[in-house]
């Protein structure tokens, strides 16, 4: 690629550079002469965090319009900005390197770019740092690749590529039971995505030939062309079948009940940075894929299966919230709250209202800031108190005021306190749900009270309640040592996340406008027609 094209094509750069740097950082120490382990880790960490920060800066500049001067609020649904000229990858079967962003993917791209340096900050002194930081860079590449790819083959490759760094993160830096969790995580999500692959292949061979592509097969993987092709799959039954195959892949990733069981195990065992990325970005891949492929390409099937979406959403929401109540493990509780929040995304989509879909989009983004904060807090709790049991200690506020403050803010944001990011999404979804389904809204609304109950309960038990005002109760795992507060790097990472939570709670319009545009677009362009053909009314 020439120099000029690189500047024209920032999405390819931010996707591929971390992968290249990450692999180099892993290989180079084996080739170069021996240096001290300490120095190696420091170099590796500095380069990794430098690259990650540079990418965060690039995406921020892109968003602010400083680079490429893009008007983000004016992208029509179905159109993409920052598209590159397609580069042939495997032209014989119609695979090209084609990237682009729109209001659906860009908030996710920005979120990924911001979360990676933050998670590096939080795990500043990870063991075996010479592997840890490059692995996070590779993870960044894989995640960005999922969101920028406009070719389903490349999309699937990145989708699966996210598994490998996460698998290694859990295995190499995980907790006691990491092998079980890593295996379960890999096999569960891999199997589900292979079903999705069959769905993609059925779509693939229904595509019309594009000249110069697919010399061997006569088909192509280009998502934009697939979306544009009228009536991609003529048989209605097959269309529904493909939709279900895709849903298996997406719902497992989200995850939705009943295929959520890998999540709590993976979260509890994963290292802090791993949990942060898992909850912050990887779960959103499911919702992203659903909106990008299932909903856009198969609007009729989506309408047909709205009752299924409501059912899955409701069950995830209610079940997740109730199970949360019974958890004593901090990470497990946050994991189940994620399941519950992901249920809200399905409900938002099922409203078939611009407001509801925009709410779902904003929920993806807001949960992407809040849950990493919660996991960072949980990780720090484990780091400083050597336990994750909620009841094992009282009065964190006394010993570790910073930790307590972040914990408090994170939980408040997660239960939907106004002026914090989560509130905007929840309110939007609930209003849209009421507009479409009327009093059925009581079920999700009441569940939010359950959410508030379990957070307030844990808050009271861990942060405040103390039998002895001078001491609190310290967990046995501390073995009588004095507890410490957050280190500077943990605090820096969490402060950034906390600031973002507040920023997007007070000024949601930063992203809300473009999301709401996109949502109106998809309803007007594709869903209304589908509603008419399916004779659907709520």
């Amino acid at each position: 690629m020439g120099g000029e094209r690189l500047i024209d094509d920032p999405l390819s750069v931010i996707t591929l550079v971390p992968l290249a740097v990450g692999l180099l950082l892993m290989i180079l120490p084996r080739v170069l002469p021996e240096s001290s382990a300490e120095g190696l880790i420091r170099v590796s960490r500095n380069i990794s965090i430098g690259v990650a920060l540079a990418i965060a800066a690039i995406t921020t500049l892109l968003f602010l319009g400083q680079w490429g001067s893009i008007d983000w609020t004016n992208i029509t649904q179905g159109g993409y900005v920052l598209q590159n000229e397609a580069v042939d990858l495997i032209p014989a079967i119609g695979v090209t390197w084609k990237v682009g962003a729109d209001a659906l993917s860009f908030p996710m791209i920005w979120l990924t770019a911001i979360l990676i340096p933050i998670s590096m900050l939080v795990e500043w002194d990870a063991k075996r740092g010479h592997l840890f930081f490059p692995l996070l860079l590779i993870m960044e590449s894989a995640l960005l690749g999922v969101f920028v790819a406009l070719d389903l083959f490349v999309f699937y490759v990145f989708w699966e590529l996210t598994l490998i760094p996460m698998f290694l993160l859990i295995l190499l830096w995980g907790g006691e039971d990491r092998r079980y969790a890593a295996m379960k995580f890999f096999i569960y999500t891999f199997t589900a995505s292979v079903f999705m692959l069959i769905g993609i292949l059925v779509m693939y061979f229904h595509t019309d030939a594009i000249t110069g592509l697919g010399s061997l097969s006569g088909h192509h993987f280009d998502l934009v062309a697939m979306t544009a092709q009228d009536n991609l799959i003529p048989s209605e039954g097959l269309r529904h079948f493909v939709w279900i195959l895709l849903l298996i892949g997406f719902a497992t990733k989200m995850p939705s009940v009943p295929v959520h069981t890998w999540l709590p195990d993976a979260h509890v065992q994963a290292p802090t940075a791993g949990s942060m990325l898992l909850a912050g970005v990887m779960l959103k891949m499911g919702a992203y894929g659903f909106l990008r492929i299932s909903m856009t390409v198969f609007p009729e099937s989506t309408i047909e299966f709205v009752p299924l979406l409501i059912f899955l959403g409701m069950v995830s929401l209610v079940y997740g919230a109730w199970v949360c109540m019974g958890q004593t493990n901090l990470k497990r509780m946050v994991a189940y709250s994620s399941v519950s929040h992901m249920g809200l995304i399905f409900l938002g989509i099922a409203t078939m209202q611009p407001l509801g879909i925009a709410g779902a989009l904003f929920m993806m983004f807001a949960h992407g800031i809040i849950s990493p904060l919660l996991f960072a807090v949980a990780g720090a709790f484990k780091h400083h108190y050597h336990t994750l049991e909620i009841g094992s200690m009282r009065g964190i506020a006394h010993h570790s005021p910073w930790l307590a403050a972040h914990m408090m803010l994170g939980w408040m944001a997660s239960l939907g306190l106004p002026l914090l990011a989560g509130f905007v999404a929840e309110v939007a979804i609930l209003i849209a749900f009421w507009m479409t389904y009327g009093w059925l809204v009581l079920l999700p609304a009441l569940t939010l009270i359950v959410t508030a109950a379990y957070y307030l309960n844990s808050m009271q038990r861990t942060i405040f309640e103390s039998n002895d005002p001078d001491q609190g109760i310290l967990p046995d795992t501390l073995h009588g040592e004095n507890p410490s507060d957050l280190t500077w790097h943990e605090n820096a990472g969490m402060l950034t996340l906390a600031a973002m939570t507040a920023l997007f709670g007070i000024m949601p319009f930063i992203f809300w406008d473009m999301m709401s545009d996109w949502s109106s677009g998809i309803i007007i362009n594709t869903m209304i027609e589908a509603m008419q053909t399916q004779e659907w009314s709520p």
């Binding site: 495997i90 014989a92 079967i93 699966e160 061997l216 209605e236």
Partner: protein, 565 residues
């Protein structure tokens, strides 16, 4: 035969240059180690002329490494020449057809054998400085010396067999006559039986070779019986002739049907299809790892060439369902499921790889079954055949690569228990990473080449079948009821891939997360290590990007020439 010899002009020589090179290698292997300074006196004179054979060997060739060097060079040359003359095609004699298809398989066979030959430097090492044990040596010391001497002595045997295997396989890919095909197949098979039993001093080696030989020869006999029935029916074993007669049949002739069925048994054994696969894991476990790798890649590819000739050339009807569809589809599902279930319960890495090889045979049979469904137009059939051949090609990289890693362990007398893989990452991180890449590729994880080939096979199956569901079906369920059963083969592959993840990941896990019995670095063998790294890198490069595209193109045009024949 006379025609071949008299017509041996330059063009023909060029056509079969790789085979001639292999033949030359075999002759050289016999002659070169025997070159010496022997002379012969011309009778009645005092003039002595050197005759070179016999006498005291020349110092320069008195090197036990020589056979390995000859074999490696010859295989590399054969690979290069078949690559250079890939586009050449023509007929040799009346029963050999050189085209891109056969050339591609020559490439595949020589590549696999080349890797095996490289691995042999560590697995069956020749030691130029081996000495005769002294009386003062301890028992173990003298045993080691004796073993080294034995290893030196059997270098020639091993490498000759390696080359004859290559010759047989390569000729087999060209055969257009069933009889020729079978003779070449047997040349390769008989050599491989001996190679499996080569380490006869070990407990398992002899048993494995014996088992493989007995089952193999019984199955060959069955195949030859089937062939004789076909001959009775048709009067000729030329495949084009057979195909014409098959297509001309109004009702299926029992002679022909039984003949083809019995031949399927023979070829099914070669590819390791259930229920004829039972000797496979024993053979792999008993053979040395490089040879097991050859069995899993080259020998399997040979079986698939024979199957494709029989199924797609001879007995494929011009329209409609092939008569063998149901049998093949059932065999495919049973093979993949049986292979994966057995691999799950196995504790010997070589057996795991053997059963995984059985499972892979099942995937490829399922793809062939999709061609037989008669739903595919010629383009789609070609695409599916391309997928199968592509899979066979890239298997050489990651299946062979995995066996090469095991052969490194075997060189130190390990590699038969899962525990031997424990902590490999600590002993040699590069090798362990490569092994992890091979496992992921076998499991079909993108962007590795194993994913691309599996995707192409599933795509082929979905492609021919998913359009068959009733177009008017309004619900997913009614569509699923109406779809051609071939579609469920794709689902079977997917479920089996999920099952296989357990054992592939397990190998990855134990390498990285268990502590090894010993911290010693692996046996030092730079060439083998280079070969393993090259395999791992190519596994990635053939999965995505320009290299995979050119290989796909190559395979695509090879399959075109096969379909035209």
């Amino acid at each position: 035969m006379s025609s071949i010899i008299t017509d041996m002009d330059l063009a023909t020589t060029q056509l079969i240059l790789p085979e001639l090179l292999l033949l030359g290698g075999i002759i050289a292997m016999i002659l070169v180690p025997n070159l010496g300074d022997a002379t012969m006196r011309i009778p009645l004179t005092r003039v002595r002329i050197p005759i070179l054979i016999g006498g005291t060997r020349f110092a320069s060739i008195n090197n036990p490494k020589l056979p390995n060097q000859i074999a490696t060079t010859v295989l590399a040359l054969a690979f290069l020449t078949s690559f250079l003359f890939l586009g050449e095609h023509g007929e040799v004699g009346n029963s050999l057809q050189v085209d891109e298809f056969s050339r591609l398989f020559t490439l595949l066979f020589t590549a696999a054998l080349f890797l095996a030959s490289v691995a042999t430097t560590a697995r069956l090492p020749a030691r130029p400085r081996a000495s005769v044990p002294l009386d003062t040596d301890s028992t173990t010391h003298s045993d080691a010396k004796v073993n080294a001497l034995i290893d030196n002595r059997r270098q020639v045997d091993f490498h000759i067999l390696l080359l004859t295997t290559g010759l047989g396989m390569s000729l087999m890919a060209m055969a257009t006559n069933l009889f020729m095909l079978f003779v070449c197949l047997e040349l390769a098979s008989l050599s491989s039986y001996i190679l499996v039993a080569f380490h006869k001093e070990t407990d398992v080696g002899g048993e494995a070779g014996m088992k493989y030989f007995i089952v193999g020869s019984v199955v060959s006999a069955v195949g030859i019986y089937g062939m004789s029935l076909l001959y009775l029916w048709n009067g000729s074993l030329d495949m084009a002739n057979l195909a014409a007669s098959w297509k001309g049949m109004e009702v299926i002739d029992p002679f022909a049907a039984i003949g083809v069925g019995l031949m399927l048994v023979a070829f099914g054994f070669k590819v390791g299809a259930a229920p004829f696969h039972l000797a496979v894991p024993d053979a792999y476990a008993g053979a040395s790892s490089p040879i097991a790798g050859v069995l899993a890649t080259a020998s399997k590819a040979m079986g698939f060439v024979a199957l494709m000739r029989l199924l797609l050339v001879v007995t494929m009807p011009s329209a409609g369902q092939a008569s063998w569809l149901l049998v093949l589809a059932l065999v495919a599902v049973v093979t993949m499921t049986w292979g994966n279930l057995a691999a799950l319960t196995s504790d010997n890495p070589k057996r795991v790889l053997a059963y995984s090889s059985v499972a892979h045979a099942g995937y490829m049979l399922a793809a062939l079954a999709a061609i037989g469904s008669g739903l595919a137009d010629s383009d789609t059939s070609a695409l599916i055949a391309t997928a199968v051949v592509f899979h066979l090609c890239v298997l050489v990289l990651f299946k062979m690569g995995a066996f090469l890693v095991l052969s490194m362990l075997e060189a130190e007398g390990r590699g038969h228990r899962m525990e031997d893989l424990h902590g490999l990452a600590r002993r040699d991180p590069v090798i362990a990473t490569s092994m992890f890449v091979f496992m992921l590729s076998l499991a079909g994880v993108p962007p590795l080449s194993g994913f691309l080939s599996k995707l192409l096979m599933i795509n082929g199956i979905v492609n021919v079948s998913a359009g068959t569901g009733s177009a008017s079906a309004a619900t997913a369920l009614s569509w699923a009821q109406g779809v051609d059963p071939v579609f469920w083969l794709a689902i079977a592959i997917v479920l089996n891939s999920a099952l296989s993840l357990f054992y592939y990941l397990r190998i990855g896990l134990v390498m990285f997360f268990e502590s090894p019995d010993t911290e010693n670095p692996l046996v030092h063998s730079p060439s083998l290590k280079m070969a393993i790294i090259a395999c791992a890198v190519l596994t990635l490069l053939f999965g995505i990007g320009p290299l995979s595209d050119s290989l796909l193109d190559m395979v695509g045009s090879a399959v075109d020439s096969f379909m035209r024949s």
